[in-house]
Symmetry: C2
Subunit: 357 residues, 2 copies
């Protein structure tokens, strides 16, 4: 027989216990102006003695809820987890509590979750790699302080944090070209929506790849398989690339998970990594670092991105009129064992068309 919990302590109880007004208690709770040190002490003592905790629901009705909502597409993606770590670490000292919605894929799920957060009067939102339309993002940002992470382009309604995906792709191409590779192929995430073509990281990576290839004088070697940022997308993309007449000596996959799929296809084709073909991923996830895999990958500092996002959202809560800022961080390359110089002779002039599979 569970005995029912006693009635929750309210601000009135505290006020009575401390022999002051509820206003005074409220001021202490918010560190607001207009309470003497003596009063503060008295109230604080009453709060501690009674074990009082303010109701966020009630606070939210008038003021803030001290809650930051985080939306991310996939909890299993370790890069997103890093961003989250950055956010929570940055917010650790503050009164804000981070709450997140379980992975939501697609525009519809995204809309539901964002609405749910607004309904719950969250003080600020951090949207990680949202796929919603720009119009929608602007609408959201007008109703609640918002920071968008991982989407390029600027907006006047929300701040954004990105990692320089063009630079990341260039790191990869340069690394491979420096090793002596010329036929460097890329597996991209297929994109048709024009706005996303400009704003999504995958599109930026593909652009960066093209630019860097041209900058290295390898414009003729540009070779792209357009699939998706999934394990299977990597597998199918690599299969496609390997079946082409002019086989690449290196594959730049747009994400680590894509690289893993590609590695599977390469193994199936009886080729070895990195001797026959080099592979590079993107995100430097824990999987990439894992010993037996040891995937060369572009490292985006997720924690740093998260910390920046948290800082920005707090700043914007404090001043909603301040001009928006775009923070762009610089990636680095984690070189591991899936990349090496191409084997001499084998492919330099192998222009003979290979039969498909």
């Amino acid at each position: 027989m569970p005995k029912p919990a006693p009635r929750r302590i309210t601000i009135i109880d505290v006020a009575r216990h401390a022999q002051v007004s509820t206003t005074a208690v409220s001021k202490v709770l918010r560190n607001a102006y207009g309470a003497s040190p003596a009063m503060r002490a008295k109230v604080q003592q009453a709060i501690d003695e009674l074990g009082f905790r303010p109701s966020a629901a009630a606070r939210g009705l008038r003021g803030q809820t001290y809650t930051i909502g985080v939306m991310l597409p996939d909890l299993r993606n370790l890069f997103f987890a890093d961003i989250l770590d950055g956010i929570t670490t940055q917010l650790g000292d503050t009164d804000y509590q981070v709450l997140l919605a379980p992975g939501c894929n697609g525009e519809q799920a995204e809309a539901r979750v964002i609405d749910a957060m607004i309904d719950r009067s969250m003080d600020g939102l951090v949207l990680i790699a949202p796929v919603s339309s720009k119009t929608r993002l602007n609408t959201v940002a007008r109703s609640v302080p918002t920071v968008v992470v991982g989407r390029h382009g600027s907006a006047t309604t929300y701040d954004s944090v990105t990692d320089d995906d063009v630079a990341g792709a260039a790191l990869v191409v340069d690394h491979l070209a420096d090793l002596g590779h010329r036929r460097i192929a890329h597996i991209e995430h297929h994109e048709t929506d024009p706005v996303r073509l400009a704003e999504m990281p995958n599109a930026q990576r593909a652009n960066g790849y093209r630019d860097a290839m041209r900058a290295r004088g390898l414009a003729d070697e540009i070779d792209i398989a357009s699939t998706s940022y999934t394990h299977h997308g990597g597998y199918a993309g690599a299969k496609e690339l390997l079946s082409r007449p002019h086989r690449p000596t290196a594959i730049f996959a747009g994400a680590d998970v894509v690289a893993l799929g590609a590695m599977e296809a390469i193994a199936e084709a009886g080729l070895t990594i990195p001797d026959d073909i080099s592979v590079v991923g993107y995100d430097n996830s824990a999987l990439a670092a894992f010993g037996p895999i040891s995937l060369t990958s572009v490292d985006q500092d997720g924690r740093e991105m998260g910390a920046n996002a948290a800082r920005l959202v707090i700043d914007r809560i404090a001043d909603r009129t301040r001009r928006t800022v775009q923070v762009k961080l610089t990636p680095s390359l984690a070189v591991r064992r899936t990349t090496a110089a191409p084997v001499q002779g084998a492919e330099v002039n192998s222009a003979s068309p290979a039969p498909t599979e």
Copy 2:
């Protein structure tokens, strides 16, 4: 210059627009008794036309917030992600929204997060593998409907969902013994707290291991390294086991991540898996299934556990006086390439008593 968002639509606006009372609107919102179909239709139309969304904060002050809080120790743990999937899937059709706190390790962080959820008037809590004291859990459960996942033992205040860890350990021992192994060692998570010794899955797994070994007549072969459920714990545990005079032919790691650490130590020792030594993990995470690793592992149906937890919490919200239930699911074994019959001759008759480390 972002233009400010217009004032939020309230229930009063809807009532006015539909020419009815706010009570009527409220009833429609809650699907409550006492509203004619005609009224429902009228109100619903007004809601749609105005794009009204009820404020969860305001609702929470009197009634429910339609929010279920989920706490889990580690977002990166894929098993927990599966549980979460089960919860969200089960709750997909309902009005409830799942919100979760970012991974919180340790009793203190756990307490903070749970308090935060209670402060936000969440309707129900799902606590996954909490480490808090039983007293604390009972206190929490008395103030809000709570379901505890992954902790054995029963309570009168909260429902619980577990997977049968004793049975899981037995699956492992039986599988290895059937293959012909006798020296089957175990790497456990060290535990001292008496309550946790009885309730935590790691302790149950160790117990299950001992029981199963005895049941197979292998009581003399029981060999345990007591470290922790981490990669390093697995590494150190395996190193310890391998250095013992009477080397095991199989290692049962209490978690997949532990198995990976063990595999690293085994590789360092110049031994091969499964020829020299078999390895089994626990959780059947994506890592275990990953081709190059292919770890034999105990599969707990996380989605099923999550679905059960969600169902229970909803039921308890509906009726807080109903007796608590304990759901215990049965694990299965995913056999992969890290287990095989021991190589003949090497260890069959090495029954010489080993001195303690």
